[in-house]
Amino acid sequence: MDRTQVVIIGGGATGAGILWDLSLRGIAAVLLEKRDLANGATGRCHGLLHSGARYAVKDAEAARECLRENRILKTIAPHCIHDVGGLFVRYPQDDPAFFTAWDRACADIGLPTAPLSAAEALDLEPNLPSGILGASTCPDAHVDVFQLTLSNLQAAVARGGRFRAYAEVTAIERRGGQVTGVRFRDTLSGDEDSIDCEMVVNAGGGWAQQVAALAGLHVPVRCDKGSLLVLNHNLVTRVVNRCRKPGDADILVPAGPVCILGTSSITVSGPEGLRAETDEIEALLKLGTELVPCMAESRVLRIFSGVRPLYVPQGADKAGGREISRGFALLDHGVEDNLDGFVSIVGGKLTTYRLMAEKTCDLVASRLGVDEPCRTAETPLRPPTPEAVTRKIRHLLPAQAASIVERRLGPAMAQLAERIEADPDMAEILCECEQVTRAEVAMVMAVDAKVPVRTINDVGRRCRLGFGSCQGTFCGYRAMLEGYRQGLWPAEAAAADFKRYLDERWKGQAQIPNGKQLEQLMLSHDLFGPSHHFHSDGEG
């Protein structure tokens, strides 16, 4: 029987942030995730690191919170952030009263902005429509959500924290009014196991309600679906926000080699089985074309949907005391529901994940009688990279690949260099769009990796393999072969996983209204369909 102090349920940014925070405080913790890291809301958002400008008019407190966290994350996790800056663009069809309200609200909370004339804005972003009235800058940025979650996990594991993917909690054990442990099932192997613990933290995001139900409790979470479009290349180089009351499809985020438009907002019954509807996609594209006209002819790579897990307490009076912040709530079920050792953290947004973790861990630490303050706001997620290691990689890899891997691996590039020096074939690029080398894939697949992988999709979440325009058609296959070479999976399991991988990638492309990605999809079908007996019964 395994033992720990705290079990965290949910491997999104918040859960990973909690594991890191607890590990820094010297509290033993295990994070259980039913699939792989960032599978829920974290991995299905814009990847926008808010500056707060978005919320300034409606909710000054939420905006201040974002601005503080924006600054902290840029200091502690610069390798996860493309500090591209943002623009709030004034479109002639939008309400001018909002422009002045926005200026005033940003000034009030000390958010640094600078006005740009229409000509200046067009000079910076030539794909904006020529009729814009002007724009303002703000410190928005793009954050690589997978990298951020992974970095938190890696940092935590280095300090003794533990992460288990594909571990679905099936029961929360209690004795009287006290949580005593959890039982879980490995969703790939079916094996069952359990852990004894003193506390359980529910960081289930969209699944928080289901997790609480395992303890017989009710946590009111409303799932609000947001669908997003990934465009094949950078139509803008800064985050482009439409300066108006927040609405659908008014943010375009340049995310590495692609850019992401979103979102819609539709209440759904739960976090699973999400699908972007045809009307929804059409509406997004239409609004996106208002934002950046050339989007009409641009290639859409992929469509995905996620849920915002919104905390909706019944009765405002009850909510008042429980809301730690406007954006998120920390529920101490010992106080609320007479179940000691069970805590839920719900609501919130990616930008404030660290703050949510801090508040949660403050509570957990006090319940455990640990007198250690939170140090995540000052502690970098990753140690600096020695200059010699950077130089070596620049010598071993082409400029762009070196530059990408410097951000992604940092000091771990030393191992990358070792692998390439031992075998120069390891410098081969397996994923062309994201310039991922065979050596990096091998590192990700290593049995001693801090955050191990079990599927090809997991590999993508560690190093972005398969995220580009071919959507895994070529690199997914190469990764499967590399996994076989490394002994990660035997031949049959490899083929089965590749089939699952392709199926998921195909699903993401199947609804695309624009021709080019359909051609890409057909190429993938033609390459693998016959050999994998997909659609062999005439379905497709």
Partner: protein, 417 residues
Amino acid sequence: MRHTDVTLDNCLKCSDCNAACPVMTAHPRYPGPKHLGPELEKLRREGLPCDSEWLEYCLGCERCDMACPNQVNVAELIARAKAAHKKPLRRRLRDWLLARPGLLGQVISLAPAVANRVLALGVVRRLMSLTAGIAAERSFPAYARVKLAGVHGRSRGAERVVFFQGCSMRYNEQALGRDCIALLAENGIETEMSEAGCCGYPALANGDPAEARRRVRANLELLYQAAENGTPIVTACTSCGQMLKTGFTLLLGDDPELAAKARVVESAVRDLGEFLIERADQGHLSLRFGDCGHLGRLAYHSPCHQATQGLSRPWFHLLRMVPGIEIEDLNAGCCGMAGTFGFKQEKYPVSLSIGQRLFQAIAQAAPRQVVSECPTCRMQITHGSGVPSVHPATLLVMAYEQRKVVDGGGGGARLAS
């Protein structure tokens, strides 16, 4: 939306371009057109450092463009990247010069006899290889002082073409120029030798688009009037032809006024072989060829830039109209010379290795001469296979003359088809 944006979105990563690339087969480490073109362009827009020395190894043959099933302008994307590529000083200076064959020709042809003798000296070639990075194994074409200009083959009521000579003909191959004039005259066409200088292709290939732009800008003015009047602009060099058919739009297309002029000129341009075969198809080509059995076995090599023009070996088919000619189409890919590429010392081994397939095909065909319309292909063929090479126009003129020998003069009359 910018043209290059559309082109980027079209790439499906299918690798058809890589499969068509001659360098990829010759050089296992060459990353290929897919990477150097659309892939790097996308990463460049992400703000990543994307320079690569491999860009210098692109031949500019444009076979990638032809191969792409999705209309990605791979070659154009590579050419843009090449223009931004940083080279060490020595290669920069050499490539500056190679980008300007017109300038080189003008200078050398001031004292061609001396220059030819000096350039042929082994010690000079070794010196050039050491200092300027020019492959010592290569011999330079001979330069001449005489230049072809003015109108030739005047006759009453004759049709006229404007002839674009290109640097090779202007400075090294005036005899070929005279053959082309004779060929046209035989068909009742007078030839106006254009004053237009270098087509700009060598500048583009050497990563100097500013120089290329200057060349096409000047040429546009010199050629526009004739094109506007409906006079065909004819060239016997396939690389010049490719540039004259696409380069004006490529380099000047951003300016709407120049773009309009560019379209007029580009649509007036014909490869000489294309021009003649069109006439043959219309029954307007003189077929007064004498028997050329004495030429022995011939083998034809089609230059990359002939295929990129969408031409299907017009010269090969023209030569097959000549009685007694025995000619085989080698169909063995790129020769590897790629204009100035093969002259570069560090590229020389790759250049020869690309040509191996062609050299082997020549060895198998065992022709007395290899026929090809591209001057640098011919240099490479003779250098790599040891077999002499000739422009097809020269053979066609011989065929007409052979008839005159038999007839004892006369000629020029059209033969009804």
